[in-house]
Amino acid sequence: MKKTINLTVNGTAHTVEVEPRTLLVHLIREQLSITGTHIGCDTSSCGACTILINGRSAKSCTILAVQADGKEIATVEGLATAEGLHPIQEGFHLNHALHCGFCTPGMMMRAVEMLERNPNPTEDEIRWGISGNLCRCTGYNNIVKAIQWTSAKMQGKELPSTEPEFV
C-alpha cells in the first residue's frame, strides 16, 4: 500500500507516492530523477549514496523513503549556487581529489557535514570523518588535502598549496 510523503530536496518541495519498502536513494534517483547521488555497494558500506537529512549525513541506501517524510534532503546537486561552486567542490577540483568521480558526490556531502560540525578538523579527524566513504582511485591523500583546503577557505584562512606532491 503506497504512502504519500512530503519532502524538500535541495530547497524544492515534493509530494510523492512511495511503497514503504522504497529506499530513499531510489526515490531520489528514479522518481525525482536527481541522479548525482550514486549507488555503490547498496549495503551501507561505501558511502556513495551519502546525502544530508536535516543537515545530518546519511546513507540513503539504508533509509526508507517514508522516513524522509517532512524532512529536508540535500544532495550534491544543491551544493553549487548561481554564484559558483561550493567551497568543497572547489577544493576537490583544485586538489585533484577525484579520478573516476563515482565516490565524489557522497564524499563531498559527508565532508560538508563534517566541516559544519567541526570547521577546523585535524588530519586524523578528517580521516576518521570520511571512514564511511570508500574511494578506489585516489588513495585518499588528495581528498584529505581538499577537505583541509576547504576548511581553510571557509574560515577565511591562508590557503594551502594545491600543487601536487611528488614523492
Binding site: 519498502r21 551501507s44 539504508t62 533509509i63 526508507l64 517524510d69 571512514s131
Partner: protein, 289 residues
C-alpha cells in the same frame, strides 16, 4: 536490493506504538535507527509484515544524570553519545566504543537502544553495558519494568524484550569517586564487527584498592559475556601488574570464541587477553586522573 513488502506506521506516542504492536501481533517489528534491521530486510533475512517507526515519538532521546544514575534514552543516536559533554567528561567508555561502531553516517542514525535490543553478541554496546552494570528499562501497555543487563540477553537475536514491549531507557549507576572506563575492539576494517572486543570499568578507593570491576566481552561468546573470574581477581585488590595480568589471562581462558574469517579460536583468546590488559590499564589510568 529491495525488502519484501510491509506496512508502515509512524506513531507519535508510545501508547499508539504499543497498541499497534498489540494489534499486529508477532509479525511487527520496531524501526529505530534501522541500520541493522533495514540491511537484514534488504537481504530478506528478515521480513516483518509491519514496521512501526518510533523515530517520530518525542522524548526518547536524552543523556542525563538523575537519582544516582546515568540515564540514556533508547533513541539516543551514537553520534549524540559521541558529542555529549557529560559523556566526554565522565564516561570515556562511550567515546571509545562509539568511535568504533560502523562509520559516521551510520552513527548519525544508529541508536543505543537498537544496538542493545538487536540482541547480537557482535554489537559493541552489550559488552559496554555489562561492564557498566546497566539496567534496561522495558516499557509496554502494562507499564515499565527493569531488567538487569545480566538477565537481558537470551540468545542470538533474542532478548528480554517481549512481544508488545519496547526498550525505552538504559540506566547506569552514576560514576562516583575514582571511576575509569575503557573499550576497544580489534576490527579488520572500519565498520567491521569485532574480531574481539573488551569493555573494562573500575572504581578505586582512596587507598588504591579496587572496589568495583566490570569486564564485558564482545563477539567471543554466543552471548555478550561477563568475565566473572577476571572481575573477582580485581575487586579488593591493589590492581598490581600481576592482578591485571591474571584477570586478562582468565578473560582469554573463559571466553568461547569460534573460528571464522576474522581469526581462529587461539588467536581470539590471545586478543581478548591482550585487549583486557590494555583496557584495564586504560580504565585505571582514567580512574586515577
Amino acid at each position: 536490493m529491495i525488502a519484501e513488502n510491509f506496512n508502515y506506521d509512524s506513531p507519535s506516542t508510545l501508547a499508539e506504538a504499543f497498541q499497534l504492536l498489540h494489534d499486529y501481533g508477532d509479525d511487527a517489528k520496531i524501526l529505530a535507527g534501522g541500520h541493522s534491521l533495514i540491511p537484514m530486510m534488504k537481504l530478506r533475512f528478515a521480513a516483518p509484515t509491519h514496521l512501526i517507526d518510533i523515530n517520530n515519538i518525542p522524548g526518547l532521546a536524552y543523556i542525563k544524570e538523575e537519582d544516582g544514575f546515568l540515564k540514556i534514552g533508547a533513541m539516543t543516536r551514537e553520534a549524540d553519545l559521541e558529542e555529549s559533554d557529560l559523556i566526554k567528561a565522565k564516561y570515556h567508555i562511550f567515546g571509545d566504543a562509539t568511535k568504533l561502531i560502523a562509520d559516521p553516517q551510520v552513527r548519525n542514525f544508529g541508536t543505543i537502544g537498537g544496538n542493545i535490543a538487536h540482541g547480537d553478541a557482535a554489537n559493541d554496546h552489550p559488552a559496554v553495558m555489562i561492564a557498566l552494570d546497566a539496567t534496561v528499562v522495558i516499557s509496554g501497555q502494562e507499564g515499565e519494568r527493569e531488567v538487569s543487563i545480566n538477565d537481558f540477553f537470551y540468545g542470538f537475536y533474542t532478548t528480554a524484550v517481549q512481544h508488545g514491549e519496547i526498550l525505552t531507557e538504559i540506566k547506569i549507576p552514576a560514576a562516583t569517586g575514582h571511576f575509569g572506563s575503557a573499550y576497544y575492539k580489534a576490527e579488520r576494517k572500519v565498520g567491521d564487527y569485532a574480531t574481539a572486543g573488551v569493555a573494562a570499568v573500575v572504581e578505586i578507593d582512596e587507598n588504591g584498592v579496587c572496589t568495583k570491576a566490570g569486564i564485558g566481552l564482545t563477539n567471543v561468546n554466543p552471548l555478550p559475556m561477563r568475565a566473572e573470574r577476571s572481575e573477582a581477581v580485581l575487586v579488593g585488590s591493589k590492581l598490581t601488574e600481576e592482578d591485571i595480568a591474571l584477570a586478562a589471562k582468565y578473560a582469554g581462558e573463559d571466553c568461547n570464541p569460534s573460528d571464522d574469517l576474522r581469526g581462529d579460536e587461539d588467536y581470539k583468546r590471545h586478543l581478548v587477553k591482550v585487549i583486557t590488559k590494555r583496557m584495564l590499564n586504560q580504565a585505571i589510568a582514567r580512574a586515577k586522573k
